[in-house]
Symmetry: C2
Subunit: 617 residues, 2 copies
């Protein structure tokens, strides 16, 4: 992918940048790499996991290209493949893969970003003409932030409330479905009834042409409905194997989980690149002298600098292993011929939501820290960090707002928990009740911590703590939510009062999953054990108040956690370069003046001059 190592001119106009990215998308299509993920029957390779992994590699380069490719082959192509049927595949799949049909994914509306089940665009079936009428019925129903809409896309996968029943019968809404709607002529003009506007300049990702779509009774044939999960007969009769509307909608959404996983992968790549730059700079940059030697100290030798970068590096390792698991789990479920498995699909969606949220927040925080760790140099566009920061910022928002995603995770955790409890026999329920009471007592006396002694670096010990926290937060969260079921309870008030608790439970769950993914491979290299320990300990340190508050650690023990984090920072410091090199980012994707110090360490002549200067001072 060397040809895709774009270094866009940071002073290019938006139009120039968009044009460059559009050209890169065409180059990517020519490479036939995107074909890899699609149905072999249409010239693809069915390697769903491989394409997501390749997509992640793009994240080491220009992120506008990553997102633009993600829109074309992940979102638009993904909807076409997963929600469409042969009639759509036959007609569009090859053109979509080849990039001769550029598409966009028109889900989000101005008024509904997170709550997409309640989108307001309508697709009303007209049985007389056998057409759907796509219509923007209010300002808030405008499709917004749609990547590809402002400049390049010819067709949109439009999500809209499907309405049947004409003027003479009662109309019926069947929930949100996806429709293929041409929006632009080959010449690039908006088609009749479609109003396209440009979202303009953004904080980042300016190579992507985000736009807005308003539909004024735009007619598309009945076949425009992507009808894998539901269909409308020519006469206007709606049918679906999934009778529950909500379940149907979330089944459709679930097939699109690849987008979320891809964003997590892109965030991981960007974080790895930022850390590579900051660690390598930190190994050459010197500031202030050691009083004993008079020599200026390399900044990565300072504890506080290590603290900024090394725990984040350890967590980046952990997230990459979790991402690998996620991708292979997805591959198993989506590869050609795979048997549908509802439970594993549900688990995949929960993991994807959680890892996307935790991973993109980690990216935003870590890239910011890396920028600061590189000082003024980190602020210059030529040193790559500004684009990494600006481009990844919206990752916490798109493909699902992180807070909303964690709520989704929490909801699943609580309902799984509820099912587990419901399955208990009477004796089990009594024991379960007793456990909770005993739990409260333990919490008050701090006696639990007696059980939580052990080597702080031992993965089993760290895991135990993470599991304790996860289980405790889920069980106590479930208890709080039970109140919402009491007669006369204000459900919203109960939920809202516990919202921070539920998010904490979701985080604890994701932390444990991520830790497990890392622990499973930590014996592959002698260094990894310590990286795992640093990751686990820094997660625990970050929430150590919780462990003390709930009696899982004593205050003395949490102090030892901090001491252990510091010690591990010191131990891993000599290996920092090796650890970032292992991310395997090609050097030409990293070249920038920030790393010039690696070539121009002070020469002997400089040193002599410096000595003279100090001597005469």
């Amino acid at each position: 992918m060397g040809e895709l190592a774009l270094t866009p001119d940071p002073d290019a106009s938006t139009e120039e940048y968009r044009a460059e990215i559009a050209e890169a998308v065409r180059a990517l299509a020519r490479s036939r790499r995107p074909h890899q993920g699609f149905d072999p029957a249409y010239g693809g390779e069915g390697d769903v996991g491989g394409v997501v992994a390749a997509f992640q590699m793009l994240g080491h380069g220009d992120l506008s290209l990553l997102v633009k490719a993600g829109v074309q082959w992940g979102l638009f192509g993904g909807a076409l493949q997963a929600l469409g049927t042969a009639r759509h595949h036959d007609r569009y799949l090859r053109d979509m893969m080849d990039g001769t049909l550029l598409g966009c994914f028109a889900m989000t509306e101005t008024g509904h970003g997170s709550d997409v089940q309640h989108l307001r665009t309508t697709a009303t079936y007209d049985a007389d003409t056998h057409e759907f009428v796509i219509h923007t019925r209010e300002p808030g129903a405008r499709k917004d932030y749609i990547g590809g809409a402002a400049r390049d896309a010819r067709m949109a996968a439009v999500f809209a409330q499907l309405v049947t029943g004409g003027p003479n019968e009662v109309s019926q809404t069947h929930g949100v479905h996806c429709f293929l709607v041409p929006i632009r002529s080959e010449a690039g003009d908006a088609l009749p009834g479609v109003t396209i506007t440009d979202c303009g300049v953004k904080a980042g990702l300016n190579g992507v042409d985000n736009g807005r779509l308003v539909f004024d009774s735009v007619r598309v044939p009945r076949e425009a409905l992507l009808n894998r999960y539901a269909d409308v007969s020519p006469e206007g009769v709606y049918s679906s194997d999934i009778t529950n509307e909500t379940r149907r909608f979330f089944t459709m959404l679930g097939t699109l989980v690849r987008g979320r996983i891809s964003v997590a992968g892109g965030a991981a790549s960007a974080t790895q690149k930022a850390l590579t730059l900051a660690v390598r700079y930190g190994e050459t940059r010197r500031q202030f002298s050691d009083p004993a030697t008079g020599e200026e100290v390399v900044v990565l030798d300072y504890l506080v600098h290590q603290r900024k970068l090394l725990p984040a590096l350890a967590t980046t390792y952990a997230l990459q292993f979790a991402q690998n698991d996620l991708v292979s789990q997805m591959h198993d479920l989506q590869k050609p011929g795979a048997e549908p498995d509802e439970e594993r699909q549900r688990d995949l969606e929960t993991r994807a939501a959680g890892i996307k949220a935790i991973g993109t927040w980690h990216a935003t925080r870590t890239i910011q820290t890396c920028r600061e760790a590189c000082g003024g140099a980190g602020y210059l566009a030529e040193n790559l960090l500004p684009a990494l920061k600006a481009d990844t910022d919206v990752f916490t928002t798109f493909e699902g707002d992180n807070t909303v995603l964690l709520q989704l995770v929490a909801k699943t955790l609580l309902s799984d928990y509820g099912r587990r409890v419901a399955k208990l026999d009477l004796a089990g329920k009594v024991r379960f009740g007793a456990d909770l009471v005993a739990g409260t007592v333990l919490e008050r006396t701090g006696a639990r911590s007696v059980l939580r002694r052990g080597d702080l670096r031992d993965p089993a010990h760290l895991r135990r703590l993470l599991v304790d926290r996860e289980e405790h937060l889920i069980a106590s969260g479930a208890l709080r939510m039970r109140k919402a079921l009491a007669p006369g309870a204000d459900q919203f008030a109960v939920f809202n009062g516990a919202q921070d608790h539920l998010l904490a439970a979701a985080r604890a769950h994701v932390d444990r999953i991520v830790f497990d993914a890392f622990a499973a491979v930590a014996d592959r290299h002698p260094l990894l054990g310590r990286v795992l320990a640093l990751h686990g300990l820094s997660v625990i340190e970050g929430d150590r108040a919780w462990f003390v508050e709930h009696g899982y650690l004593t205050a003395a023990r949490t102090k030892a956690v901090t001491t252990a984090v510091n010690a591990l920072c010191g131990e891993l410091r000599p290996h920092a370069r090796e650890l970032v090199d292992a991310f395997g980012i090609p050097q030409n994707w990293l070249d920038c003046p920030l790393l010039d110090g690696e070539r121009t360490r002070p020469t002997e002549a400089d040193e002599q001059h410096a000595d003279t200067l100090t001597a005469v001072g």
Copy 2:
């Protein structure tokens, strides 16, 4: 300042943007507002505090203008005024104030950003010609990131090692001093011996022309030395009233404290603007329905959304009051005719360093949170948050890297503490020793917390906790640092091992100062008491592990802190709009599509349609 409410085209080229900002700087000069801060003898008004407060107002507008103005009148003008003498003032002060002489402030070098005492540029006195020779002796001595250097500045205030003694005698270095060096002709060309390059596009602040300066034996007259604190006679004899080189250097630096205070002010303004946007958006944006009513919930009614914005809002209030104190303290010390007061000056510098660090980190974090709280809309340039975020990012770095500044604060705290202890008589020292031992015991038993019961919202109680933490961290930090004095100790290792401890002490100190500044005015409005409590409690909550670990709070008590933060979020929610309106940002500086929802709340017609849609669904 209505005319300065710039809304630069986000798609303008760098050159267009720079030109627009340069024009705005001229407009600002014509307004004669910058004159306000300078010596009345030269047409100023001597209102040092007023000008810094006015500068902060600029922070509600375009931040490139803020920084460009800060370079001209704060840094360049400030150096000229504070380090120069009549010979410089007579010749340049009026032109500088009028903006007919545009200057830059050339301190930072590629190799030395934080450790400016060890800059490598030299200014060697040539007694034969009565000139200083300004020279860049190595690549790392290049002046870097200099605002104004790339395009507009005609003159630079250059910081360089002053060297006397010619080829026939031993040369002597007297430390860093400041020199006025012309760098560009009136036509805009670099002068002979001066090589100017452009730092190019940055993550933000692209209306500011940052550049690099390399001097090849550039000669300036002897009088170019800003000689308020030191001079060189025509014969080449160096003299200064301050004999200690380090003390002399930091005395000179200290006079420039205004820059740091101004950055803190700019960060405060930007934070206030971001919060105003996010709170107002959060009051109109609706997402997901209340199951009881079916109505979509305003996002600011969600606990987690309140948690994101309201504690940050409370801390923004606290920081503004601390900033007000800082500005008035500076005004008292720097106003015309003020008596020099070394102790108060030192205190001012420590406060300025601390509040700049804490305030700019708060800005970076809060503006990021506000962007995320506005979802996709927050990512669009038209909604102002992207510029706020990108432009303020470097505030954590320039005018002193925040980590280095906090270290400076810690150093002062420890040496003050050392002096206090040294003054104790023998009995006092014994008691002091006993205290520390007793402290350790208390820490182990957690008995201290008995003393720390009380109303969690009571300012006196909150203050006591903040003072406890500050004093504990300073005393125990001092104890650790004492080890560095032991014979044979590795000073660097001792310091480095305690670096995180020292930074925590500095933070604790700044937190207490900021709290005090707020507490002193909290009775001015009935709401402020609760805002103060939310600020104090959220600071304590953020570090609650520390309070438990050191026996100042029980685990049960820290849980109560979290509960109290949640409760206060709920109580202040109805007042959120009032609280951001009180920042007084003119509406035309806030106008953007993000706030359109305030005008276009769903109409009755929309609501009816929505009901219909729900009813038929």
